[in-house]
């Protein structure tokens, strides 16, 4: 095993240890303070409003292939879909999920089915839709769903490229709240200009912790924060060493 591989393994092991340690430590303690992300507060409010008003919630999971790095953000989207489906199970018009990737569509149906079963609500398999297999056809399909279903709020949490602007535009036209986060840098730049509530960088991955998806989400958030500071410190030290000519 060479040095980079050893470092990689150590990093993963440390990260896992921090996650499990945090989860164990906060098992019987109040949850740690996390900085406010107003977007998630608005989402919770939007869920309540949608249930009261009988409008549809829409969650789009992007087009991240499950056997690629893009699957991570899709898993976050699925966790939040589960929370939303349970919260809004009592609604006349339960949430609907769209995706641009086949395996994601299957998983979204599974998640919705599971949430409906748990809440004792009816399940309609058409609530988990594959709207297209190319980025633009997927975005066009999701946009038409927002328009047809007159959704009260749209959450876009997944892997999106610049085509996400078509979806946010549809949300804008129907005057519904659009919260969006992606792991794609181009998508983030587009969302900053077009979404009402854009999530920047790793904020998307914190969604589970903010939406109450479980203690492990909070634990992983703590691990992320600790490692972020470690990386910042390492970058600063590296820059200083480079400046003084050591590196």
């Amino acid at each position: 095993m060479n040095f980079p591989e050893l470092m990689g393994l150590a990093f993963v092991g440390l990260f896992l240890g921090l996650m499990l340690g945090s989860a164990f430590y906060y098992r019987n303690r109040p949850a740690p303070f996390v900085r406010q992300i107003p977007a998630f507060g608005r989402v919770r409010r939007a869920i309540g409003l949608a249930v009261e008003a009988g409008s549809r919630l829409h969650l789009s999971l992007g087009r991240g292939n499950l056997i690629s790095t893009r699957s991570a953000v899709a898993f976050v989207g699925l966790s939040i879909l589960d929370r939303i489906a349970r919260s809004a199970a009592a609604s006349d018009r339960p949430p609907v999920a769209t995706s641009g990737e086949s395996t994601l569509a299957i998983l979204s149906q599974d998640t919705l089915h599971d949430a409906s079963k748990f809440m004792g609500a009816d399940y309609d398999p058409l609530r988990g839709q594959l709207t297209g297999l190319t980025p633009f056809s997927y975005a066009a399909g999701a946009a038409s769903l927002i328009h047809d279903e007159a959704t009260g709020a749209s959450l876009l949490l997944g892997s999106f490229g610049s085509e996400v602007a078509l979806i946010t535009e549809a949300g804008d036209r129907t005057e519904s709240l659009t919260l969006a986060g992606t792991d794609n840098l181009t998508g983030q730049a587009v969302l900053y200009a077009t979404a009402q509530e854009p999530l920047i960088g790793e904020e998307t991955y914190a969604g589970g912790a903010y939406m109450g998806a479980g203690g492990m989400h909070q634990a992983s958030l703590i691990a992320q924060d600790i490692f972020r500071w470690v990386i910042i410190l390492a970058l600063l030290v590296g820059a200083v060493l480079k400046l003084v000519g050591v590196l």
Binding site: N65, I67, S68, T69, T134, G161, N184
Partner: protein, 521 residues
């Protein structure tokens, strides 16, 4: 002119105004005309009702005070003025005088007892069960009864006292009515029906009533205008951009110079120039059909250069539509280079599993991609030799150059992080070049700037493609869209600047100033 203060904002208004001129609150209560006339009672400033019945005038001061206290606290079923007058006259002694020698308190107790007994009526005897016969009293008790009856002072009062009708004391008069006295209901006293309500409260009541009544009524939704300012903005921008681009195509002006090459572009050019004769190049068409315009334009000069060098091309893709895009691309260049499928190039099609399968290219390529897009056995069979572009190839490390045409940052990173280390370790001549969408430049550049390089040269977007074409001397390939591209970009900037400033400052200009609103207010 007399003024009236608004109950809501407190500001003075002329007394003939119905609603406040400042806050639009109702100044005068809404009252239905009939009930208002019937029930209108003159009120003093505090809202206390003035007595109207003649008998009320005779109410003593202490009773009036008591009435006022009760009125201000509780409700009471409405009683007629006659009843009130009767009560008052009874209380003031009009109904009878206090017998001489009897203390006031005894007299009052007697009166009250009498009234209580008046309410008690003997239950009617059941026909099936006749009431008990009067008991035969012993002599001594009878004498007491007679003696009591014969007492002068008690005679008058006893005459008015009720006779006990049930129980062992049946037939006796003047039995203390313990139950009546003790358990006399002090329940809801009769209260006046009229609330003491001020004008201010009436206004609020009216407002509340209006609100409650309006709740049940369906309000027509304000109709959205069929053409809003947002529509005009969108259509205006679309029209302006389209017109600018179409104009530049129909009426081309003086052609603008192609951009000067940059270091990374020159590096890619050098890599292709250094390819050996019959060099083998893996070309990945990893972009979506929507991005074909930019990527085709950026890559045309690069692929053209590869063909000029006579390289054997192996085409693959991690997107399902990539192989068709690759076929189309080669066809576009066919009139110039006459590349033949299965001879100069081979299309191995889609790599199932996408970027996750890239690692399979580092293993056994014949196993991962056994057939061409036409369904031929690419790596040879008993009846057919290995196709020329694939001769000597077992994995991605055997290629002289790997060229990736990509529009997705994750796919680009996957190629760099999963495939490039294998290329570098397999052959010192092996290189990874890229033609990327312009949006990927900040992501790919760090890999180019790294030491050692992980991307050995790249072309970014239309600008990079144009500079490569200039470097290669094949300007005609990009000339057709370079000028109109520039016009479109300029129009976009102009719109963002002018329309953006107007759009963002218009609400500020049209908003009423604070001083104006204060004057109006």
């Amino acid at each position: 002119m007399a003024e009236i203060n608004c109950p809501l904002c407190g500001k003075a208004n002329p007394d003939d105004f119905e609603v406040c001129q400042y806050c639009q609150a109702r100044l005068k209560p809404l009252l239905a005309p009939d009930s208002a006339e019937e029930n209108s009672l003159p009120q003093d400033e505090t809202g206390v009702e003035e007595p109207t019945s003649p008998a009320a005038a005779e109410i003593p001061e202490w009773l009036q005070e008591l009435r006022q206290d009760e009125d201000s606290l509780e409700l009471e079923p409405e009683r007629s003025s006659d009843e009130l007058a009767a009560d008052i006259s009874e209380a003031t002694g009009d109904a009878g005088s206090i017998p001489t020698g009897t203390p006031d308190w005894i007299y009052e107790v007697e009166q009250e007892t009498q009234r209580d007994f008046d309410h008690i009526e003997p239950p009617p005897p059941s026909p099936a069960e006749p009431g008990p016969e009067p008991a035969a009293l012993p002599d001594w008790l009878e004498s007491i009864r007679l003696g009591l009856h014969g007492t002068p002072g008690l005679a008058s009062s006893q005459a008015t006292e009720p006779v006990e009708s049930t129980g062992p004391l049946a037939g006796l008069r003047g039995v203390l009515a313990a139950d009546a006295l003790i358990s006399r209901s002090r329940g809801p006293a009769t209260r006046p029906a009229k609330l003491r309500v001020s004008a201010n409260q009436l206004v609020h009541i009216d407002l509340l009533r209006e609100l409650v009544e309006s709740e049940g009524k369906s309000q027509p939704l304000p109709q959205k205008p069929s053409i809003s300012s947002e529509h005009i903005l969108r259509w205006g921008i679309a029209l302006a951009v389209c017109l600018a681009v179409v104009w530049s195509i129909i009426f081309p002006g003086q052609p603008a110079a192609l951009p000067a090459f940059q270091e990374e572009t020159a590096e890619l050019n050098r890599l292709i120039e250094q390819l050996p004769d019959g060099g083998q190049v893996l070309v990945a068409f990893d972009y979506e059909p929507g991005e074909f315009a930019e990527l085709d334009a950026a890559a045309s000069a690069v692929i053209d250069h590869l063909m000029i060098q006579g390289a054997y091309l192996t085409l693959v893709s991690t997107t399902p539509l990539g192989p068709v895009l690759a076929e189309r691309f080669i066809e576009e260049l066919q009139p110039v280079h006459h590349y033949t499928a299965g001879v100069q190039y081979v299309n191995l099609g889609y790599i199932p599993g996408g970027t996750a399968s890239l690692v399979m290219l580092t293993g056994n390529m014949p196993r991962a991609l056994p057939y061409t897009i036409e369904g031929l056995a690419a790596w040879g069979s008993e009846s057919q030799p290995v196709l020329p572009p694939l001769q000597g190839i077992q994995n991605v490390g055997d290629y002289d150059l790997v060229m990736v045409l990509v529009d997705d940052p994750d796919v680009a990173r996957a190629w760099v992080e999963q495939v490039e280390p294998f290329i570098s370790s397999s052959s010192p001549q092996g290189s990874l070049g890229m033609v990327i969408s312009a949006q990927l430049e900040p992501i790919i550049r760090p890999y180019y700037d790294a030491n050692p390089r992980q991307v050995h040269g790249f072309v970014a977007g239309l600008r990079g493609g144009a500079s490569y074409a200039r470097l290669n001397g094949r300007e005609e390939l990009v000339r057709s869209y370079w000028d109109s591209f520039g016009v479109g970009l300029f129009m976009a900037v102009l719109l963002m600047l002018v329309a953006g400033l107007m759009y963002s400052t218009y609400p500020l200009l049209t908003r009423p100033s604070k001083s104006d609103s204060e004057v109006k207010g």
